[in-house]
Symmetry: C2
Subunit: 269 residues, 2 copies
């Protein structure tokens, strides 16, 4: 008899966190998943820490009330601005994993020069959460907010000449002066993995591109222990605070497969 | 003795509606103003009608509870998706003016060919509110969602070559075929007036650029009757659901002057 797998609740401000869920499904297939996209209140990237914490806590409580035994804060901004508040608001028997520590760990492991560049939303950059997490690992970070990347990805322009120009405008002067030797670029926003091929053309060839989604899934896999090897298809249930139809439509390209099973949540905070 | 001026409550999802307030201050200086920016829940442009209606009604009720005798729905998306719901939720003695009817009226007045192009958010376009309002005036409209314009304006790139390329990508194929004779461009989003000089270079020279903010202020001026000529400085009080500091910083360029007097509102819906 196979034991019932753990239930992992994945929280994000919208559909971007589906890039994290996608990695979790690959690396932790023995779990079942609940995904909460707070699409009625996105984006978090330009909002204040108090507002982000309030929204994130209400969402993670919703996931707990639906059976989540582990929480993954798939939103970089929510992790950066509200992870401590979420942990304080969560019972001790439920683990809470953000995307920043795993991302920083991965970047530190791949950087020989001990200098990296982090790109993220305004909120994540202003919190300096990546900078602190990297400094604890002996790595210096230069942070850069790239507010147009999310709307460009949402417009579907992931391989567009306009996006490439914007990427050059944001990134060209980062790998110089004190950071001329920087050898890793941390994608500190869940939308950015969709820009990986384009960013590969923009940043110097020796720079490793570090994706927090992969690192976070790996961290969860390690903490839960190896799968029992059964190739059972994990169940996934989706919750969205705005239209389920829009969630389904927009989410597919982030998850890399069609999305069914979306429930609308009318959340009160 | 001068009579006390009317109190006008202006509602928007964020700071964009300050372009409407700016026009109101010019054209209706005899009023006092309350401005509500729902910055914790913006943007509305990509959300569903139900969500937008819920947010807009809670905000306009807040304005009424603070003394608003007239309501201006300065957000095109909220007007397009929720004006009827707002009117139904508002007592009969409080007038409700959206930005779409005045904008459509102005466009109809300026179009000789009876063909116009409307640019707006996804939500406003999908509602076809401008198309209906223009058709009632015998004018055919082609609507086009321009989702990157708001983030480009918010990035401050109002006169940037990237923005001009994006404008060409969005607009170049609109003034052709059935709409080759279109002679007006309606700016159906409160952020777009900041792009007026750039858009002037992108659209054909014979196309009039119609700004709903100006048209809405004019409509309010007409409905309230002429000012008594006293040049009293209108009082303006601002409410924001996210950080007041961010509201102040971001709002200045939309209002065209410094913003003080912002109160944080923790709204429950």
């Amino acid at each position: 008899m196979t034991k019932k797998g753990p239930v992992i609740g994945v929280f994000d401000s919208g559909v971007g966190g589906l890039t994290v869920l996608r990695e979790l499904l690959l690396q932790v297939p023995q779990a079942d998943y609940l995904y909460f996209g707070d699409t009625a209140r996105l984006p978090y990237g330009s909002k204040s820490a108090e507002t982000v914490a309030k929204y994130a806590i209400s969402a993670t409580q919703y996931l707990q009330s639906h059976g989540a035994e582990h929480l993954v804060i798939a939103c970089n901004t929510a992790t950066a601005m509200a992870l401590d508040a979420i942990v304080r608001a969560t019972p001790k028997n439920i683990s809470v994993l953000g995307v920043i520590e795993p991302g920083a760990e991965n970047a530190a492991a791949s950087s020989k020069s001990r200098k990296v560049v982090v790109i993220a939303t305004e909120g994540t950059c202003n919190s300096h959460a990546y900078q602190r997490a990297l400094l604890q690992r002996g790595v210096e970070a230069r942070e850069k907010a790239c507010p147009l990347f999310v709307p460009l990805v949402e417009e579907g322009w992931t391989d567009h000449s306009v996006t490439e120009q914007v990427a050059h405008l944001y990134l060209d002067d980062l790998f110089n002066a004190d950071f001329a030797a920087a050898d890793a670029l941390v994608l500190g926003c869940t939308h950015y993995p969709l820009l990986k091929p384009l960013l590969r053309r923009v940043v110097p060839a020796n720079v490793a591109i570090v994706d927090s989604a992969e690192a976070t899934a790996k961290c969860m896999a390690v903490s839960l222990g190896a799968s029992d090897g059964h190739s059972i298809e994990p169940s996934v249930k989706f919750f969205a605070t705005d239209s389920v139809e829009k969630f389904r439509r927009a989410g597919g390209k982030f998850l890399g497969r069609n999305i069914e099973n979306v429930v609308h949540v009318d959340i009160e905070t």
